[in-house]
Symmetry: C2
C-alpha cells in the first residue's frame, strides 16, 4: 500500500474560516465575546474531502494520507495559550471527524497548542487527548512559534524535553512544521517552511538530542529543507563540532519526506539520504497547486518522481509503506486492526 | 584560467580583531573613546595570505580569488551608521592592501556599511569609494542587516533601488551575503547563510526587480541556498504568482556559486541551473574547514566536484572563467590590463 505521510486539511468549509477570523478578532481585543464554533454537518465535510483529497488519492494511486490541520493556519504567534488551546482542539476535532468519515483513507496527526507564552502544559494535554481519545498517530511540532523570529529555544534545548518524553510515552513521532511567517520578507511556503527545516536540521547537528532520547522519531518535511543538497556542509560542520558522523548522530532518528517537486531534487534526496530515511509525502493539497508544463503533471504529484527511480521492491516498499509503519507505530496498529 | 568568485579574508592578523573588539565596546557604550586602528605592516599581512589562501590556490589549482572581508564579521546589526562606516572602510582597506600585495591572485569585493538605521547614503558612498578609488569589482549586499530578524524590506522593494542604480552606474554586481546571526537558533554558516540565500531567491520570485533593472547582476552564493534542490517548488510558486518562467524571470540576472560541498549537490546544481548560471566558488577559508573522510580531500575543495562532471570545454570555461568575466566586467578589464 502507499501511505502519504504529509497531508493537511486545507479544504476546510468556509464556516471554519469565519470562526477563526472571529476568534482572532477576539484574541486581538477587537471583539467582546469569544465566538461559538458553528455546527458543520457531515455532508459538508464529506464533500470537501471527496472532491479534493479523496479524488487525488484515487487519481495518483495512494491509499492513506496522514492528515493534520492546515499548517499555515496554526498561527501559534497569534493568540494566548488559552485561545491557541481552543483553536488546536477545534482544528484537531475537525481532522478527527474526517478520519471518522473515511477511516481507511486517513489517519490523524494533531496541531499542538503552542503559543508565545512558551507554556508546554496545554501542549502535552492536547497531544495526550488527540492520541488517546481521538486515535491520532503523531503531531506537528512548530520549532518557531513566533512565526519567523526564532524566539523559542533550539530543538535540542531541555525546554522541549517534557514534550519529547510525552511523545515517547505515547509512541508517536513529530513532524517538524512551522506555521505562517509574520515577516513580509519570508514567504511562508517558499522560504519560511524550507528555512525552518534547514534550521532544525542544523540545530540537531549542534545538539545531542538523540543521545538523551534514542527512541525519539522526527520527520523533517519538504525533503529535509536544504540539508540533503548541502549534505557535505552538514557532514563537515558535524566534524568541526566534534559530533559523530550524521548517520550515527541523526539518521537513526530523523526521516525526510518526499515533498520535493521535481525529479532532480528527488534524485538528490534518495542519493544522499537513502530509502531507509525517506517517507513518501506529497503535501497533498498544499503549497504548490500547479501543473508543470514540462511534464504535464502536478508539481506535487511526487509519486511519479519516485516511480522513475531504479529502486528495488524492498526499497520501494520501505519508502511507500514500511518506514511509515515503523515511524508511526500507532498507524501500524491501526492498519493491522483494519486487516491491512 | 580559474577564477574563484567567493573568497573571504578570514585570516586577519590578531590586531585587526583586537581593534574590532574595542570598537564594539565603544559602540555599546562600554568604552569612552573610539579606538585607533593599529598599524599592521606588509610582512604581517603577506604571511597571513601566503600560508593560507595563496597556498590553497596553488594546491587546488585556481588562479585568482575574488576576495571580500569576512562575511560573519560584517556585523551590520552591531553599530550605528557611523561605526559601521568606519568598520567597512577599515575592512575594505585591508582587502585593498592584500590585492595590492598580490595583484595577480586577488581582486577586491567590498563590505557595505549597512546598519539598522537603514540609511543607504553611507552605503552608496563606500561602494563608490571602493570601486573608483580602490579598484574593487563588486560588493557584498546583506539582505538582512538585523542578523536574522529580516527587519529590512524585501530585496525587490524600492528601498534598495538607489543601491541598484549605483551598482549599474559603476558596473558592478552584488553577491547576496548575510553576516552573523543574532539568534542561538540560527547557526551562522549552517542555517542563516543558507536560509538567506533561499529567502532572497523567493523574494526575487515574488517581485519584478529585473523588469526595472535588466542590467542588474546578483550572485546568490552557497549554490543558491535551497533553490536548486527545490526548483520545482519555485517554478510552481512562480506560476501561482503569475510570474514568467524562472528562466526569463530571474536567470538572466542571477548566478549561483559552487559552494556546495559534495558531489551529489554539485550534480544537482549543474543539472538544474546549467553552466551559464554558475560561477566557480569555494568560500576559500570559509565555513567548513575539514577533510571529508570519504574522499580524503577538503569538503570545500569544490574544483574536484566540477572536474568530475562531464562538461564540454566551453561549459567548463564558462563556469571557471567566462561567466565571472561577464558578471564582473571590472574584473575582466583588470585581467585584460594584466594581459590575461
Amino acid at each position: 500500500m502507499i501511505i502519504d505521510c504529509h497531508g493537511h486539511y486545507t479544504t476546510e468549509p468556509p464556516e471554519h474560516h469565519a470562526f477563526r477570523k472571529a476568534q482572532i478578532e477576539f484574541a486581538e481585543g477587537k471583539r467582546e465575546a469569544s465566538p461559538d464554533y458553528p455546527s458543520i454537518d457531515d455532508e459538508t465535510l464529506r464533500a470537501t474531502i471527496e472532491q479534493n483529497q479523496l479524488r487525488l488519492q484515487s487519481e495518483r494511486g495512494s491509499d492513506l494520507t496522514i492528515l493534520s490541520p492546515r499548517a499555515s493556519g496554526m498561527g501559534h504567534h497569534v493568540g494566548s495559550a488559552a485561545v491557541n488551546a481552543e483553536w488546536s482542539r477545534i482544528s484537531n476535532d475537525l481532522v478527527a471527524r474526517i478520519v471518522g468519515l473515511f477511516p481507511r483513507n486517513f489517519a490523524g496527526v494533531c496541531q499542538l497548542p503552542q503559543s508565545m507564552s512558551g507554556d508546554l502544559a496545554p501542549v502535552l494535554a492536547e497531544l495526550e487527548r488527540c492520541v488517546l481519545e481521538l486515535g491520532f498517530v503523531g503531531c506537528n511540532l512548530n520549532p518557531d512559534p513566533s512565526g519567523g523570529f526564532w524566539s523559542a529555544p533550539p530543538i535540542y534545548d531541555r525546554y522541549w524535553y517534557p514534550l519529547f518524553e510525552k511523545m515517547i510515552d505515547l509512541g508517536v513521532p513529530a513532524m517538524i512544521h512551522v506555521s505562517g511567517a509574520c515577516s513580509a520578507c519570508l514567504h511562508t511556503t517558499g522560504a519560511h517552511y524550507i528555512n525552518a527545516d534547514t534550521t532544525v536540521f542544523m540545530q540537531l547537528v549542534q545538539g545531542d538530542l538523540f543521545r538523551d532520547f534514542p527512541e525519539l522519531k522526527l520527520i523533517i518535511p519538504h525533503g529535509g529543507g536544504a540539508a540533503p543538497y548541502h549534505w557535505g556542509r552538514y557532514r563537515g560542520l558535524a566534524m568541526m563540532l566534534e559530533k559523530p558522523d550524521l548517520a550515527a548522530h541523526l539518521m537513526r532518528n530523523v526521516w525526510f519526506d518526499t515533498c520535493v517537486y521535481h525529479q532532480a531534487g528527488i534524485d538528490t534526496l534518495f542519493r544522499v539520504a537513502g530509502p531507509d530515511n525517506i517517507l513518501f509525502g506529497s503535501e497533498l493539497l498544499g503549497a504548490v497547486k500547479a501543473v508543470d508544463p514540462l511534464t504535464g503533471f502536478n508539481f506535487d504529484d511526487t509519486r511519479r518522481y519516485i516511480d522513475a527511480l531504479a529502486l528495488s521492491e524492498a526499497e520501494r516498499a520501505a519508502v511507500f509503506e514500511g518506514n511509515a509503519r515503523m515511524v508511526y507505530p500507532r498507524l501500524d496498529t491501526r492498519l493491522k486492526a483494519q486487516g491491512r
